[in-house]
Amino acid sequence: MSRLSQAEKVQPDWLGKTLAGIILGLALSFGLVGLFAWLGSDGLTQTISVEKHSWRTQFNMWMVSPIWLLILSFVFMFKNYKQAVLWLGGANIVVYVLLYFVRGMA
């Protein structure tokens, strides 16, 4: 493997990447679960039994942390913290705009 030049190497950027993973990652995870809660099967627009609704909500709550943890774990793969903020921030905007429209239609 040819040696990578300093500019090509992944920068650690500990603080920036960690914060991006914690804050933007958590927001993104909530957003994705939110979309799934509204659009997925047995979603919030459908009429389902109280019992099923309660388990669906528990399921949604359970899904937040695994998604967040995966983002937090792999955030250090970004080349530098700017890339991390850009990609995660961008994904957040897309997800929350979608969520806004989905909820508006309901």
Partner: protein, 537 residues
């Protein structure tokens, strides 16, 4: 598998930092968690047989309840009916309730005597398994935040780091995984041996660890997660409510226990009913919480499945047994709970989880040892300050918590001879042992502390079967020996653990006095230049 060197280096740092900051907390959580797999057996072993009253005939439960409701009206707020042999048929709390750890919980036990009269007495319930469970959930960090122990949140944060440690550990192990997975090199120095052990345990039990990390985070932060979810739901409620009943129920109209059990059996025909807790019997929202057991099913709770029913109308609000309208969602959530608690597969499942829990503790302990070995300066006796402090912390915390638990077990039957509240004794004993060992590690050094504490743990373990032998030999002492199979199993396990700790002490001693001199472990005589030369000739 090839991974770029710069990425490997980053994930190695991630693994080191997340590991070293959480290892000791997780160590306590894991070994204590492993022990809680046998909570029922432990309580049976630790509770004097006289505390439980004799069971009654199946037909007598209604009569028993009726008398308890009249003579002890507070029992109408919450009373537990147990159908298990060896348990009192009914129990209720005079103060406090079943949740949480409180040291002066007064539990009433009731039964019918031969002439059909209610016979009741109070006793302090033995909280030995609760002490272990408390350590499991909080790592012994005292204090409360909100309605939970502060330690629960600390372990929640630790679990987040732990998940990241798992992923990063796998990433930087991948390039060498195939080559060294099953290698256990014990001839290539301590560092190699600890590394191979650490990797082998980490990779083989990875699915277990991922489940544990995710569930611990949810157990700690579910309130926060529900709050966030609530914002996304907008004006939709998180949990719908059944319309509240218009009528106020009265205890006089309570159907018979047999009728309630009939309905529960119809819902969950493959489960056995273990106990029924009746609460708020004079209200608009009465509840029968029914504990169901099955070795063939993955159960949602630590020991049981649940079913909630209105005891007057038999309306089932929900259950963790998938026979209602839970959908796939209920099955997934119940599975996640069950996979944390290991409440599937009966006795075999409990042993498997016990062993995986212990191996988890070994994973974190070896992780710390690896960190220490890696920073060892091989050319000079003087070691860095961070290594010395971490070494003392590792020994002090790990051995201190083990010693505390071992002492609590060892003192159980002897304390019952006195009038002391056993649960207060447990707390004092645990924290004294823990604090003493931790201080000793800093005052007399890590190696000496490791040696004596491992010997002490071994002796305390040996004392459990020895106590039974003494109890058999001198019955007048009033100590109850282990007679049930589960109690005998517990004492045999203690004996095996005792042997392991004794051998650990031998190994530690060897390394401390005869091992490599340039190490934080070494406390033997430093050889002079001249001696070294003659040796090498």
């Amino acid at each position: 598998m090839k991974i770029r060197a710069d990425i490997l280096r980053i994930y190695q740092s991630v693994h080191t930092w997340t590991g070293i900051t959480t290892g000791l907390l997780l160590f306590i959580g894991f070994f204590a968690g492993a022990i809680t797999m046998f909570a029922s057996s432990i309580d049976k072993w630790a509770t004097p047989p006289s505390h439980q009253l004799s069971q009654v005939e199946t037909t007598q439960y209604d009569e028993l309840l009726r008398r308890a409701f009249v003579q002890y009206p507070e029992s109408q707020n919450g009373i537990r009916v147990s159908f298990e042999e060896g348990q009192s048929p009914i129990t209720w709390y005079q103060q406090g309730n079943a949740r949480g750890l409180s040291l002066d919980k007064q539990l009433w036990h009731g039964t019918l005597n031969e002439s059909g009269e209610l016979e009741a007495h109070t006793s302090y319930i033995n909280e030995l398994s609760s002490l272990v469970d408390y350590l499991h959930r909080s790592a012994g960090i005292a204090g409360e935040i909100g309605h939970d122990q502060a330690g629960v949140y600390v372990l929640g944060v630790a679990a987040i780091l732990y998940f990241v440690a798992l992923v990063s550990g796998v990433i930087f192990l991948l390039p060498t995984l195939v080559k060294s997975f099953f290698a256990l090199r014990d001839k290539k120095g301590a560092s190699r041996f600890w590394l191979d052990t650490h990797n082998l345990i980490g990779i083989t039990s990875l699915p277990f660890h991922i489940i544990i990390a995710i569930t611990v985070i949810v157990f700690a932060f579910h309130d926060f997660l529900y709050d966030g979810l609530g914002k996304l739901y907008g004006d939709k409620p998180l949990f719908g409510r059944e319309a509240p009943s218009a009528v106020e129920f009265k205890v006089e109209n309570l159907p018979s226990i047999e009728e309630i059990m009939e309905k529960a059996r119809a819902y969950a025909p493959e489960h056995q009913i273990k106990e029924i807790t009746l609460s708020r019997l004079n209200s608009k929202g009465p509840s029968a919480s029914i504990q169901l057991v099955s070795d063939e099913h993955l159960m949602r709770g630590p020991k049981t499945d649940f079913l909630f029913m209105n005891p007057y109308t038999f309306e089932i609000s929900t259950s963790s047994v998938m026979n209602g309208d839970q959908g796939i969602w209920g099955a997934v959530v119940t599975t996640l709970f069950g996979l944390h608690f290991g409440s599937y597969g009966g006795e075999f499942g409990r042993w498997a989880y016990f062993i995986m829990g212990i191996l988890g503790a070994v994973l974190f302990y070896t992780g710390n040892l690896l960190w220490l070995e890696k920073r060892r300066k091989q050319k000079q006796p003087e070691q860095s300050k961070s290594s010395r402090v971490m070494g003392k912390l590792t020994i002090g915390v790990a051995m201190g918590s083990l010693l505390g638990v071992a002492a609590a077990f060892a003192l159980t039957k002897w304390t019952a001879l006195t009038t002391m509240n056993i649960n207060v004794v447990y707390m004092w004993v645990y924290y004294l042992c823990f604090g003493f060992t931790l201080i000793a590690a800093f005052v007399i050094g890590m190696s000496k502390t490791a040696i004596w504490s491992q010997r002490a743990i071994a002796i305390l373990c040996f004392s459990l079967p020895l106590t039974s032998v003494i109890a058999f030999a001198i019955p007048s002492l009033g100590i109850w020996p282990a007679t049930a199979w589960s109690s005998i199993g517990l004492e045999l396990t203690a004996m095996i653990l005792g042997v392991i700790f004794w051998r650990m002490a031998d190994k530690t001693k060897h390394r401390a006095y005869n091992g490599e001199a340039n190490s934080i472990w070494f406390i033997g005589q430093h050889k002079t230049e001249c001696e070294l030369q003659t040796q090498s000739v």
